[in-house]
Amino acid sequence: MHYRTVFDIPRDELLAPGHGLCGGCVAGTIVRLLLKVAGPNTIVVNPTGCVEVSTTTFPYTSWRVPYIHVAFENAAAVASGIEASIKVLQKKNVIDPSKKINIIVIGGDGGTADIGFQALSGMLERGHKVMYVLYDNEAYMNTGIQRSGTTPLFAWTTTTPIGKVLKGKIQVKKPVAEIVAAHRVPYVATANPAYFLDMMNKFKRGLDVDGPSFIHVIQPCTTGWRYDPRIGIKIARLATETAMWINWELDHGEFRVTVTVPKRKHVRHYIRVQGRFNHLTDEDIETIQKYVDKEVERINKLVGKEVIGPVVE
C-alpha cells in the first residue's frame, strides 16, 4: 500500500508528546511520521544528537517502541549487532521467527556523515537489513550549531563565523546519499518533510527491501538556521522548489526523481529567509545559484529528461 492522502496515515502515535525538542523542530515531525510507517514491531537505534537528548531524559522517555542509544559514532554498528542477534535468535527459535522486526537507525548529520560514517559504511558493506534515516539539519545543532560535513556553502555556524577574512563555510555539502549509493545497497532515497507522503512512502520502501536502506531527509532547524519557528515546513518546501534539495530514489539501481519541479524558483527565496545566510551578497547567492544549476543539469542528465525545470521568476 502507498500513502496517497493524509487519510492513509496511521493514527497511532509511537513518539509520545512531551519531548524536549525546540518549538517548531522539524526533526520531531520526521520521527513521528517515521514511526507511524514503521509501527510497533520496531527497534530504534539513535546515536547521540538532538533527538536523543530531547526524548530520553531519565526517568522519562518519548519512545513507545524499544529504543537504544549507545554513543555518537556507532549507531550503524549497534544496529548491525541487533540485526545479527535477532537473525540467529530467530534461527534458534528464541525469538518468534515469523515476526518481522524493523530495525531503524535515526541519526543526525554529524553522527552519520562525519563521526559515524565508518560504522555506516561497514554496515552497508556487510548488508545488514537495517533502515538508516538521516535527519540532516546541516550542522552540529545539539552542541550549539557547529559546522558539519553537510553544512552548505557559505552558511554561518559558530565554527564558521562571519569575520573580516572568512565568511561562513568555504566548502560545499558532502553528498552523503550518493556516497551511500556507491555501496550498491538496494534502496537509497532523499526526502523532504514538506512532501510528507513522498517521504513516508520512501520509509515504507526502505523497510520492505531485503538489505540495507538509507533515507536522507532534509530537516530545517529553527535554532541553527535562524528563522521563525512557524515556517520550518515552508523552508523545507522552498528547498525543493529552488532545487537546493532534490527528492530522488535509487531503487535497485533504478534512479528516479520523485518530486519533479517543472519551474524552479531562484535560490535567493530559500536563502533570504534564513539568518544563517544573512551575510551573503547578491554575488554570493549567484555563486550558489550556479552551483545548483549545475546540479540540476547533472540530475536531468541522469534521469534522461528534464525533471527539474529552469528558474522562472
Partner: protein, 397 residues
C-alpha cells in the same frame, strides 16, 4: 581427568579462548583482527563455517564497531563474545564504559599487548591495566587451560543477576597466545549447559515490552546509576569465587582469585599472567638452593581481591610485586604494587613491598631474571632500605 568427558588437545591460548566461546554456545561474535589476538577469531570463524558453532559472526570494520555490535547483540538477548589486543582495546575504550553502564554481560578475550608508540606488537599488560576503571570484571589467566575454563566461568559470572557486568579474560600476547599447551576440552559442550544455562537475566529490547536503553541521566540521577555499578562490582566478588567452586565441583579443575605456590616462605613474589609460570620455575630452583620463596598469582584484577591477598601476605617478611605495565607518574608506577600498598596501609599491615617493572614490550624475562629480582630485593631489604619507587628491571638507562 582422563575420563570420558574430556579430550586432551594441544592449544595455544587464543585457540583455548575460541574453544571456550564455542563451548559456551555464544550466539553472536563481532571481532576485528589485531595481532596477537587474530588466531582466536580465525578459529571461531572455522567453528562457524564447519557448523560446530551456531552463531552469527559480524566482520566489523573496527574494534569500536566490534564492541558496539556486541552491545547491540547483547541488548536483544544474545550471548556475545569478542576478542582483541592493545590498540583495539584502546579504540573500544569508550564502549567499555557503555557496555558496563548498560549492564550487558559481554565476554571478551584479551591477548595482552604493549601500547604504541613506539609500535610494539609484543606482549605486556599496558592494555589490560589501562581498562581498570571501566567497570569490567578482569580475570588474568596464566595457562591455556585456565583461559578455556575462565571463558566458560566468565559467562557464569557476567550473566548472574547479582552482577550483570561484562568480563575480560586476559592472557599474555605471544607467550601464551601463540604457544601450545595440552588442554582438556569438553568432548561434548553439552556438559556446560547446566552450568551456564541460556537464561536472559538482563533487561533487553523487546517489541512486546518497549523500554528505552541508554537514556540521558542528569545530575539528579547519574550518580545513582554509577553507584549501582559499584554495588554490582562488590557483589561480583563472591559470585566469582562461587562460580569457580561450582566449576571445580562439576568439572574437577579448581581456581581462586589469588593462587599460591609453595606456601610458607616468608618472602613472596607476586605477579600475573603467563609470567607466573616463570616465577614457579625460579622458585623451584631457589628452593633447591635453600631459599624458600612463595609464589603468588593474581588471577582477578577487578574487583581487586582484597581479602584473599590479605590472607596470603599478612605473615610475610617482604613482598616483591612484578608489574607488567607502567602507570606513568603514579606514586608507585607498578599498578598492582600500588594497590597492594593501599591495601596494606588500610589494614595497618607493615610489610615492605618492592615494586619491580619487567617484561615491558615483551623484553625477555627468564627464570634468571626472577632470581635476580629476588636477590636484588632481599639485598635492599637486608640493608634496611624501603623503596617507594618502582624498580625497572633490566632497562638500559
Amino acid at each position: 581427568m582422563e575420563n570420558s568427558i574430556w579430550k586432551r588437545i594441544p592449544l595455544n591460548s587464543n585457540y583455548a579462548a575460541a574453544y571456550g566461546a564455542k563451548d559456551s554456545d555464544v550466539d553472536v561474535v563481532a571481532a576485528y583482527p589485531i595481532t596477537p589476538q587474530t588466531p582466536a577469531v580465525e578459529k571461531i570463524a572455522d567453528f562457524i563455517s564447519n557448523g560446530e558453532l551456531n552463531a552469527e559472526m559480524i566482520h566489523v570494520e573496527s574494534e569500536h564497531s566490534a564492541m558496539s555490535a556486541c552491545i547491540g547483540a547483547a541488548a536483544v538477548g544474545a550471548r556475545t563474545f569478542t576478542a582483541t589486543s592493545a590498540q583495539g582495546l584502546e579504540l573500544m575504550h569508550e564502549l567499555l564504559h557503555i557496555a558496563s553502564g548498560l549492564r550487558l554481560p559481554i565476554v571478551m578475550a584479551v591477548a595482552s599487548r604493549a601500547l604504541s608508540a613506539p609500535l610494539s606488537i609484543w606482549g605486556d599488560y599496558s592494555d589490560v591495566i589501562n581498562i581498570r576503571d571501566t567497570s569490567w570484571i578482569i580475570l588474568i589467566a596464566s595457562t591455556a587451560q585456565e583461559v578455556y575454563d575462565s571463558i566458560i566461568q566468565a559467562y557464569k559470572i557476567a550473566e548472574d543477576p547479582d552482577v550483570l557486568l561484562p568480563v575480560v579474560v586476559a592472557y599474555d600476547g605471544f607467550m601464551m597466545s601463540h604457544t601450545y599447551e595440552l588442554v582438556y576440552v569438553a568432548k561434548n559442550p553439552e556438559i556446560f549447559r547446566d552450568y551456564i544455562p541460556k537464561k536472559v537475566n538482563w533487561t533487553i529490547l523487546n517489541v512486546e515490552k518497549p523500554i528505552t536503553m541508554g537514556a540521558v541521566a542528569n545530575p539528579d540521577w547519574y550518580y545513582e546509576f554509577k553507584y549501582q555499578q559499584v554495588l554490582a562490582m562488590k557483589r561480583s566478588y563472591s559470585v566469582i569465587k562461587n562460580s569457580a567452586k561450582e566449576f571445580e565441583k562439576r568439572y574437577g579443575r579448581s581456581y581462586d582469585t589469588v593462587e599460591v605456590y609453595n606456601n610458607g616462605g616468608k618472602i613472596a613474589v607476586l605477579t600475573y599472567g603467563g609470567l607466573f609460570g616463570t616465577v614457579v620455575e625460579a622458585i623451584d630452583y631457589m628452593n633447591k638452593q635453600g631459599t624458600q620463596i612463595t609464589g603468588i598469582k593474581l588471577r582477578l584484577f577487578r574487583p581487586f581481591p582484597l581479602q584473599e591477598i590479605r590472607k596470603v601476605i599478612e605473615d610475610l617478611k617482604m613482598l616483591i610485586v612484578i608489574d607488567r605495565a607502567i602507570s606513568f607518574g603514579a606514586p608507585i608506577e607498578g599498578t598492582v604494587a600500588m594497590e597492594i600498598s593501599a591495601l596494606l596501609h588500610r589494614e595497618s599491615i607493615d610489610i615492605p613491598i618492592y615494586s619491580y617493572i619487567a617484561s615491558i614490550g615483551q623484553r625477555t624475562t627468564t627464570e634468571e631474571d626472577i632470581i635476580g629480582i629476588v636477590k636484588d630485593a632481599v639485598k635492599l631489604f637486608e640493608s634496611g632500605k624501603r623503596i617507594s619507587e618502582s624498580i625497572y628491571w633490566g632497562v638500559r638507562e
